[in-house]
Symmetry: C2
Subunit: 216 residues, 2 copies
C-alpha cells in the first residue's frame, strides 16, 4: 500500500471512530486496528493523536476556504448574485463529498481549545473576510439590498453547515439524506431563494428556480 492510500485509510478510520466514540474516547491503537495498519505508522506520519486531529482540521478547512476564495476571485467578473450562488452551492457540495470529515470538524470547532482558536485565526477569519467582500461589492454596485453584514454571515453560516454538522438530525427527523445529490440541489435552491428574496433587486430570473425549490 502506498503512502497516500495508507494515510487515507488512517484518516477514514480516525474520522469514523471520532464520530462514534469522540476524540478523547478513541485511542491510537483503536485507530490503527480499524485502519489495519501498525500503530507505529500513525506516530510516524502524524506524531500523535493530536497531530492527526490537526491534520484532519487542516485538510478540511484548506478545501473549505478555497471554495469561498474562488468565489471571491470571480466577484470582480461575475454578477454578485451568481457569485454568491456558486459559493453557497460549492460549499454545500464540498461538505457533502467530505461528509464524515465535515461532521467531525464542525463538532470539534465548537470546543474551546487552542486548536480551535488557531482554526479561527487561520481559516474562519479568512472565510468571513471573503463573504464580507463579496456582499460589500454587491452593496456598492447596487446589486444587493444593504443589510447588516455580520448577522447575515452568521445566519448564512448556520444554514450552510447545519445539515453537515447534524446529518443524523436531518436523516432521522426529516428522512432526508444530506449525503445525496438530490438533497443538495433542493436545500441549495432553498438557501438561494432566501438570498434572492432578502438581497437581490432583480428577482425575475430566479422565479423558476424558486418554484422548483419550493415544491414540497
Amino acid at each position: 500500500m502506498d503512502e497516500r492510500m495508507t494515510k487515507k485509510n488512517i484518516y477514514n478510520a480516525a474520522i469514523f471512530l471520532f464520530n462514534t466514540k469522540g476524540f478523547s474516547g478513541t485511542s491510537v491503537r483503536e485507530i490503527a486496528k480499524q485502519a489495519n495498519v501498525n500503530s507505529a505508522l500513525i506516530s510516524y506520519y502524524f506524531k500523535s493523536k493530536q497531530g492527526l486531529l490537526e491534520s484532519l482540521m487542516e485538510t478540511f478547512y484548506d478545501g473549505y476556504v478555497e471554495k469561498i476564495e474562488q468565489a471571491f476571485e470571480r466577484s470582480e467578473l461575475l454578477p454578485i448574485r451568481s457569485c454568491l450562488h456558486k459559493a453557497i452551492l460549492s460549499l454545500l457540495r464540498y461538505q457533502q463529498e467530505n461528509n464524515q470529515l465535515a461532521r467531525f470538524v464542525h463538532r470539534e470547532t465548537t470546543i474551546d481549545s487552542t486548536l480551535t482558536r488557531e482554526v479561527m485565526t487561520v481559516y474562519l477569519r479568512k472565510e468571513k473576510y471573503y463573504w464580507q467582500k463579496i456582499f460589500e461589492q454587491g452593496f456598492r454596485t447596487g446589486e444587493l439590498h444593504k443589510r447588516n453584514i455580520d448577522l447575515t454571515i452568521i445566519q448564512l453560516k448556520g444554514m450552510i453547515t447545519m445539515p453537515f454538522s447534524n446529518p443524523q438530525y436531518v436523516q432521522e427527523i426529516f428522512h432526508l439524506s444530506p449525503f445525496e445529490d438530490y438533497f443538495i440541489r433542493q436545500y441549495g435552491l432553498h438557501v438561494l431563494s432566501w438570498l434572492d428574496e432578502r438581497f437581490c433587486r432583480q428577482k425575475g430570473a430566479t422565479k423558476k428556480e424558486q418554484q422548483k425549490a419550493e415544491v414540497g
Copy 2:
C-alpha cells in the same frame, strides 16, 4: 449546602469541563474537585458520568421543547406571525440563559450515539411536530406563503442554534457576544425579518422592526 444547590454545582462543573476537555476527556473525580464535592455524591445523584450526561441533556431539552410547545398552544389564539416570533425569540433567550449547557448539548447531539437517538425520538421529533403544525396553520389561514416545510425547519433550526453551538466563532470573528441581551435583540430581529420577507403576506407592521434590525 442543600441538594438543589449541590446538584447545580455539579452541573456547572461538569458543563465547564465537558466544554473545555470534552466528555470522554473528563473524569468524575475532576468534576467532583471542580464542584468542590465528594465524588461519591455524584454517584449517589447520577449513578455515573453517563447518568450525569443524560440528566444534562434532559434538563436542556425539557426546557427547550417547552418553549416551542407554549408557542404551539397559543397558535389557535394568536396570529401565526406573532406566534412564530414569540417561539423564535423565546428559544434564543432560553439558549442565552443556559448558554454553557446549550453549547455542550448541541455538540453532544451531533455524536452518533444511543443517547442522541433517544434525544431525537423524545425531543427533536416533538420540536419538529410543533414547528410543522404552526407553519401549516399559517398556510391554511393564508397568513403565510406556502413553502417546503422540512427545508424551512432545517434552515430555521440552523439559524436558531448557530450562535449557541458556536459562541466562540461569533465572539472571535465578529466581536459579538451571544450571551448579551443586545445580541439576542439584534439577531432575533434579523431572523424575524427573514421570516417576514419569506413567509408573511402582511409586511406593513414590521417595517419599523426590520429597519431597527438592519442598522448595521
